[in-house]
């Protein structure tokens, strides 16, 4: 079954295939027919195309004959190499020519033409001369077809005609252009229509410019009208030709003269068509003419105006010219022209009586006529006493005699003047001859030309002996040759100079002369030598030398005085130190009242003696100008109060009221010298207290003015004392003066106090004055200028001095040769628990330092073996130690302090020193090294109790109780807290100061608030209250003075705490 089905399917498939084949064959048949038809159509198209081509070819061939038959050359070139593709017959002839003449200029131009034409999108045209014919070639380039056509035209005939024309034109034109005259044509109304080149050179205008100009524009303006009228007339009257001369201005403003021929060009109808002109530059001729006229005018005006009388006569002795001066000289009542043409005899007849000796004149004239030579400067005496000078000069031209010129000048006045001059010259000559000054004239070789009498006397030679000799050989002293050479150099430079020199006399003795020398010149301004004026200055020189010797002596003695004073002060102060020290020590031992009163007397006397010594020293320092004013910041109130305090005890004793009146406006801080200022007021006030027995002594300070940081203060010291006598008042400030001798006895004193005071006031820039009434009182007053300071000017370490530091255990080396002073220092120091070592001299001190570490050295200045300065240098530089070294000096002379500090010492103490001074110094320098420790017992460490001494501000500066509680005794934490305080506090304190100076109190308050907790934590007693005051200053306000105190306390105390904290950390 399935097999049948399969066979059936196979049959069906076969049928499908047959059917498909038939289908395919039909399709193929259709396609074949389509192809055949398409082929037939193609064949037809091809045939018609071939026919068209044949027709076109025929046409082309016939067209190609055109160029061939063209009588003008035609070419076609191909490619960049311009190879010839085609040329017609005419063209071939051209090519032939080029090939035959490869070197001809036209051949080269031809190739250049082809090159230029190639690739050129514009046709090019160029002319060539070929075989005596001219051609114009025209190129057309077909860039896209890569060829170019060139067409030629024969232009020979055209060229020949043109050339002939050009030649004749050129010839004619060059004739016109090269003419030396201007040739121009102009229209009838005067506008240029043609000008030649010469017109340019003469007028300066270019041809172009001229052709736009009117002829009249060239003419000098003042002549324009005249010239215009002239030519208007020529045209009006039709005058064929004219000539006129007139000036023109060139383009550059130069004037030129023109001589111009003008011809009218007219047509057959006599109508003027244009104007032809020939113009010549005649400037030179005109100028020559003008110059001649001018010269003639000038000459005649010269003669007419001459001061001298002139007469000129011709060869026939007839007068040609004379002038007014001549008529005046001879008092002739004629005008000069009267004599012209008249015979000279007529003139001479009229003037001969004017001469005192007319015959001489005649003779001279005759002589001149005969000799034909000029006779000049003949003096002629006139009958009226005048003197004339006459010249008679013959005139020649080309050796031909033309006459005479005669000149007469009145020289009467000149003669008189000459006489006067001569007399005066004689007068001065005699003065110079007889005066004390020596005159010496030398030539350039120093050879003497002339000397006067004084010079001869000075030198001991006669004039004859001197003239002709060389000064360098005869007069010069060998040692002075250098001066002479120097002078000679100056003279050659034309300089004058004054110099001193020794000169040798005839007897070989030498003397000093002052010479004023100057170069001498002749009339040609050539140096011919020099002239010296000599003054004998021997006496003056001697005087000068005496004075020098005297000055040297005076200086030596002043120096000796200074050394004496220094030595004296040393010699007196050293024993005084012992006396005062021992007295103090003795006063503290057990004594009865009688002994005490003796000691008191010793002490008072010693103190008085010290005052006198100090006065004398001060006085001599001031006298020697060796006292200077220091400049440090001071708190004015404190200084003044201190002065009052020092004297209040004495005033109280005398039951006198001591008043201190300070003007509130005076600035708090001044920059000045507190020591010397204090000295002034101590002197004045102690004097006042001394001489006042009841009533009061007032110190009054008032501000006069304040300007910027400067102010002036008026001071008065007023007492109700005994007063000064009116006749003594003027001498109160004199040295060693007291009102009278009895005063000295009664009141004591050196008599130098007021002198020193006056000089100190002057050093400060003031002038002290006094007014007084006997029995009523005295007032001293003066004004001083000050610089206003601020807190920063105040010495920083002042606060530290008041600190009390435990000096126990401090090791002190005392270098001092004076045994009593050794003992004194040792006793005082040991009473403070200090370990004292004594060195007898500088050498011992150096040795001691090299073995033991001392805390401080007290070093005397003057010691045997080695002095204090040298010892200090060795300790500093050889041992390299920085131990504080304090100079003990009895030399209170200025300069010692500097010497100490220069040598490397830290400070100095002036002998005799008081216990408190020594303590201050020790505190200051040990304080820097030692801990601030609680004071144990004042009694123990102070040998002499001194009740007036200021107590220390706090026995305990700070404590760490609170901090320890806080930290539960954690050492590390506490250390950190300390470090923090050390680093942060100075910063805040500085900022507080800055804000204070900037008046920024709110900021200051904030900063204080910030610092407050630290101060509480470290329990800094002195600052707990202070910091709160500073904090509240902004809101509560208050005195600035107080604020300054608080701030300085803050700075000082916080600094001390920091120092101590640092030390505790180091441990």
């Amino acid at each position: 079954m399935s097999q049948e089905k399969e066979i059936e399917a196979l049959k069906r498939a076969l049928e499908r295939e047959k059917e498909a084949r038939k289908q395919a064959e039909r399709i193929m048949e259709e396609k074949s027919m389509e192809l055949y038809l398409a082929n037939q159509r193609l064949l037809q198209i091809n045939e018609s195309l071939e026919n068209t081509i044949q027709e076109r070819t025929k046409e082309m061939n016939s067209l190609a004959r055109f160029p061939e038959e063209n009588p003008y050359p035609i070419f076609r070139f191909a490619g960049p190499e311009k190879s010839l593709l085609y040329s017609n017959k005419a063209g071939k002839r051209i090519i032939d020519f080029f090939e035959r003449n490869p070197e001809s200029a036209d051949t080269l131009r031809w190739y250049e033409f082809l090159n230029n034409s190639h690739g050129c999108d514009q046709p090019l045209v160029q002319e060539f001369e070929i075989d005596e014919n001219y051609y114009q070639f025209y190129s057309v380039c077909y860039a896209d077809h890569n060829y170019m056509n060139v067409y030629g035209f024969d232009i020979t005939l055209l060229k020949v005609t043109q050339n002939a024309l050009t030649e004749s034109e050129v010839r004619f034109r060059s004739m016109v252009e090269n003419a030396s005259d201007i040739i121009y044509r102009a229209s009838v109304d005067g506008v240029f229509t043609y000008v030649n080149i010469t017109a340019e050179t003469i007028t300066g205008y270019s041809t172009h410019e001229l052709l736009s100009m009117h002829f009249a524009q060239l003419i000098r303006p003042d002549q324009q009208e005249v010239v215009a009228d002239f030519y208007a007339a020529q045209i009006r009257e039709k005058i064929k030709s004219t000539y006129l001369e007139f000036p023109i201005y060139t383009k550059y403003g130069n004037e030129k003269w023109i001589g111009q021929h003008v011809q009218l060009i007219m047509d057959e109808d006599h109508y003027i068509t244009e104007v032809f002109s020939l113009a010549r530059d005649i400037t030179e001729r005109k100028q020559a003419q003008t110059a001649m006229t001018r010269t003639a005018t000038r000459l005649s005006s010269l003669i007419a105006n001459l001061q001298a009388g002139v007469v000129m006569e011709d060869e026939n002795q007839n007068i040609v010219i004379t002038n007014q001066a001549f008529c005046n000289l001879f008092d002739l009542p004629h005008s000069p022209s009267y004599f012209q043409g008249k015979a000279n005899t007529e003139l001479f007849f009229k003037i001969k009586d004017s001469f005192s000796d007319p015959d001489t004149i005649w003779n001279n004239l005759e002589k001149a006529l005969q000799q034909n030579k000029p006779i000049v400067n003949q003096e002629v005496l006139m009958s009226d006493g005048r003197i004339m000078e006459s010249d008679i000069v013959p005139i020649f031209q080309d050796k031909k005699f033309l006459g005479h010129l005669m000149l007469f000048r009145d020289i009467t006045e000149k003669k008189e003047a000459h006489k006067i001059l001569q007399r005066s010259e004689e007068k001065y000559r005699s003065i110079i001859e007889n005066m004390y000054l020596g005159l010496l004239q030398v030539d350039n070789d120093e050879t003497i030309m002339d000397v006067n009498n004084s010079m001869c006397q000075m030198l001991g030679y006669t004039k004859e002996e001197l003239v002709g000799q060389k000064t360098t050989q005869l007069l010069a002293v060998a040692k002075e040759m250098e001066i002479l050479e120097n002078v000679q150099v100056q003279r050659n430079e034309g300089k004058s100079s004054v110099y001193e020199m020794r000169v040798k006399r005839k007897d070989n003795s030498e003397f000093y002369v002052l010479i004023s020398g100057a170069p001498l010149y002749n009339e040609k301004n050539e140096k011919i030598g020099s002239l010296g004026i000599h003054l004998d200055i021997t006496q003056r020189k001697e005087l000068e030398q005496d004075l020098m010797v005297a000055r040297t002596k005076a200086e030596e003695s002043a120096h000796a005085k200074e050394i004496f004073l220094a030595n004296m002060s040393h010699e007196i102060r050293t024993p005084m130190n012992a006396i005062l020290g021992m007295t103090n020590l003795l006063m503290n031992s057990h004594l009865d009242s009688k002994q005490l009163s003796y000691l008191d007397a010793i002490k008072t006397s010693s103190n008085n003696l010290m005052v006198i010594i100090n006065d004398i020293l001060d006085f001599s320092k001031i006298e020697a100008g060796k006292l200077t004013i220091e400049k440090v910041g001071i708190e004015f109130h404190k200084v003044m109060q201190n002065v009052i305090n020092q004297l209040s005890f004495r005033a109280d004793e005398k039951n006198i009221l001591l008043i201190n009146k300070i003007d509130h406006d005076i600035p708090d801080i001044l920059v000045t010298d507190p020591t010397r200022l204090t000295q002034i007021f101590l002197n004045l006030l102690s004097n006042a207290v001394k001489f006042t027995h009841k009533g009061s002594v007032t110190l009054k300070s008032s501000l006069i003015e304040r300007r910027g940081n400067l102010c002036r203060i008026h001071f008065q010291v007023i007492d109700t004392g005994i007063g000064i006598d009116a006749d003594k008042i003027s001498t109160v400030f004199d040295s060693f003066s007291q009102e009278d001798a009895s005063t000295t006895r009664k009141y004591g004193g050196s008599g130098l106090g007021l002198t020193i005071t006056r000089q100190l006031v002057e050093l400060f820039g003031g002038r002290i004055q006094v007014k007084s009434k006997k029995g009523i009182g005295t007032e001293f007053y003066f004004v001083l200028p000050f610089e206003v300071g601020n807190v920063n000017d105040l010495p920083k370490d002042d606060a530290g001095i008041d600190m009390e530091i435990d000096l126990r255990g401090t090791r002190v080396l005392v270098a001092e040769d004076h045994q009593i002073n050794q003992f004194l220092a040792k006793t005082i120091l040991e009473s403070w628990g200090v370990e004292v070592t004594i060195a007898e001299n500088g050498l011992d001190a150096v040795n001691a330092v090299s073995n033991v570490d001392y805390d401080i050295i007290l070093m005397d200045m003057q010691m045997p073996e080695m002095d204090g300065l040298q010892a200090t240098r060795e300790i500093r530089h050889i041992l390299n130690r920085d131990i504080p070294i304090i100079a003990l000096t009895a030399n209170a002379v200025k300069g010692d302090q500097e010497k100490c500090l220069d040598a490397g010492m830290n400070d100095y103490l002036s002998k005799p020193f008081e216990q408190k001074d020594l303590q201050r110094i020790m505190q200051k320098w040990i304080g820097e090294r030692k801990t601030v420790a609680p004071k144990v017992n004042k009694q123990e460490k102070t040998f002499v109790p001194e009740p007036e001494k200021t107590t220390s501000m706090s026995s305990e500066l700070y404590d760490l109780t609170l901090l320890n509680q806080l930290a539960l005794n954690d050492e590390e934490f506490i250390a950190k807290m300390k470090e923090l305080f050390i680093t942060s506090t100075p910063e805040i304190v500085d900022q507080i100061f800055e804000s204070f100076e900037g008046n920024e109190f709110e900021k200051m308050s904030g900063l204080a608030h910030k610092l407050k907790p630290s101060i509480d934590t470290f329990n800094i007693h002195s600052l707990k209250e202070t910091i709160r005051k500073i904090e509240k200053f902004h809101t509560l306000g208050g005195s600035k003075e107080e604020l300054v105190n608080w701030l300085s306390q803050l700075k000082t105390d916080s600094g001390l705490v920091i120092d101590d904290l640092k030390r505790s950390l180091e441990k």
């Binding site: 069906r12 498939a13 498909a20 289908q23 395919a24």
Partner: protein
């Protein structure tokens, strides 16, 4: 539609399903020329739809599967008849790219009346390739079959994933070489 498609389809049907099954499908399709197709003729494409539809019925084959099969068949014929298109090509992606840019323009020169699908190809990286079939004939499965055969021809095992077929006139394939 070109006669070659009909002749090749019938050849495939005869080879795969036998003469009688093929004849049955031809009969059922009620074709105007009773299945007598020549490769040089041109016929209505609806005849192919009817013929293919009847063959699917007769053989119980999914139309898509049928077209895919046809794709395999036709590719083999192409390789034999038009070897010139394969010369010098070793990478299947290079070949696929050339269908649109080179093969189809050449086919149109020979058969100006041929109706060809459009392909957009996109090389993603060395190993993957996106090919989009665009045609109103909706025969993306035929194209799928051709692509499979192409990868096999070049011995390049690959995974061909139909990315989108919402629009049967525009279907993207992602070919990833294995």
């Amino acid at each position: 539609m070109k006669g070659m498609i009909f002749t090749e389809f019938i050849e495939m049907a005869e080879n795969k399903f036998g003469l009688s099954t093929t004849q049955e499908a031809i009969d059922n399709a009620n074709l105007p020329n009773k299945g007598a197709y020549t490769a040089v003729g041109t016929y209505d494409h609806q005849e192919m739809q009817r013929l293919a539809g009847e063959l699917c019925k007769a053989t119980q084959t999914e139309p898509g599967e049928m077209l895919r099969m046809f794709g395999h068949h036709v590719f083999a014929k192409f390789v034999k008849a038009y070897g010139v298109f394969f010369e010098g090509i070793s990478d299947p992606f290079d070949f696929l790219e050339q269908i649109e840019t080179y093969i189809h323009p050449e086919v149109l020169k020979l058969y100006p009346d041929a109706e060809l699908p459009r392909f957009e190809s996109q090389r993603l990286d060395n190993g993957s390739f996106r090919m989009t079939y665009i045609s109103s004939r909706h025969m993306s499965a035929f194209a799928y079959g051709l692509m499979e055969a192409c990868m096999a021809h070049f011995r390049a095992p690959a995974n061909i994933e139909t990315e989108s077929n919402e629009d049967p006139g525009r279907v993207s394939f992602l070919i990833t070489r294995l």
